[in-house]
């Protein structure tokens, strides 16, 4: 079972910080409004705890999932609670819950995910690219557990790199999770000279 030192977790947190900073800038440009970013958390959790870390597992949310391929395998997951999705859709001028609304949310996920991943790639010199996003509206627990199950064959731990983006002056918040594979984490740490 891999354990990470505080130094390693700090380094991953710093990566998440820069990544979500770039994603926040992209969101801000799209909306024409300032976006605040919470200090990201990086933590390793048993899988069942990781499911719960994303919020009440029975609460509904829209999730945008981007699989990341290349030198590292990871999944980016953006979670929008329904009320925040409504506000965000209004800011974008689309009707929430409709096909247009859904595809706009997927596009936001795509742009945020790409800017996050690109900044990781730049910092670490890794060649990584996101695949097209899949958008799904369901229970938070069902979304999280299904994302985690994909990589759970060989591990019982998940590394969560968790940031929150908040649109200033609006009660609109979204959760941004990066879930790298274990090999992916080692690769990231190796590139930072902390492997």
């Amino acid at each position: 079972m891999p354990q990470y030192t505080d130094l390693q977790l700090d380094a991953l947190r710093e990566l998440a910080n820069i990544g979500s900073g770039n994603a926040g800038t992209a969101l801000s440009a799209m909306l024409g409004q300032p976006v605040d970013i919470s200090v990201p958390a990086a933590s390793t959790l048993p899988l069942a705890d990781a499911v719960e870390a994303a919020g009440d597992p029975e609460s509904p949310a829209t999730g945008v999932v981007l699989p990341i391929c290349g030198d590292i395998e990871a999944t980016v997951l953006l979670l929008f609670p329904p009320e925040d999705e409504r506000i965000l859709s209004t800011l974008l001028g689309v009707e929430p819950g409709t096909e247009d609304g859904c595809s706009a949310l997927g596009e936001i996920g795509n742009i945020l995910g790409c800017s996050y991943v690109n900044s990781l790639a730049e910092m670490t010199g890794l060649s990584i690219e996101p695949r097209p996003p899949v958008t799904v509206a369901d229970m938070v627990g069902a979304i999280m557990s299904s994302v985690l199950a994909v990589r759970a064959d060989s591990t019982n731990l998940a590394l969560l790199m968790d940031s929150r983006l908040m649109v200033e002056g609006q009660a609109c918040e979204l959760t941004f999770l990066l879930l790298p594979s274990l090999e992916g984490i080692d690769e990231l740490l190796g590139r930072l000279g902390l492997g």
Binding site: P46, A48, E52, P67, V134, D138, M139, A142, S146, A149
Partner: protein, 158 residues
């Protein structure tokens, strides 16, 4: 609360076993055909060669472990109800494609091997589900996001 990879059993009339937000995971409910003795396993993946992590992570270890635990409470002849095993994301590539269906297949194979009939199931599809197993009346219900709780199985009071 039966979280991912966990299992629980009960014979106390006031207890309810719950797994919230099953996506590709599958909830295996087992109960004695006569007495109100129930169990629930929250299975994550189809099979592994060796057990690793929580006891109910892999179907091929979870089902026998659950059988053993309900039998310890006095269950003799068992029946099952299955909930979950959805395909939440439809990625074009194979990676992670349809873990839900493979979980469903693996659980049924294991139950078949142990000669435990499946009395009802709400599996497959693309929606997440919450499963509740009530000891009282040996009832099993499933609920989708923002949906109503639907009874899949229940026994008349003797």
């Amino acid at each position: 609360m039966v979280r991912m990879g966990e299992l629980a059993v009960s014979a106390s009339a006031d207890e309810v076993l719950v797994s919230i937000g099953l996506g590709s995971c599958i909830g295996v409910a087992l109960f004695d055909v006569r007495r109100p003795i129930v169990g629930l396993a929250h299975v994550m993946l189809p099979a592994a060669e060796a057990p690793s992590g929580p006891v109910a992570k892999f179907a091929n270890f979870a089902v026998p472990a659950l059988v053993e635990e309900v039998k310890e409470l006095g269950a003799t002849r068992l029946e099952a109800v299955l909930v979950g095993g959805a395909q939440m994301f439809s990625f074009s590539r194979e990676d992670g494609a349809n873990i839900g269906a493979r979980n469903d297949g693996a659980v049924r194979e294991e139950l078949d091997r142990l000669r435990i009939p499946v009395r009802a199931a709400a599996t497959g599809g693309s929606r997440g589900r919450t499963v509740r197993v009530y000891v009282d009346g040996v009832r099993v219900t499933a609920r989708e996001v923002a949906g109503a709780e639907q009874q899949l199985y229940g026994r008349e009071a003797p």
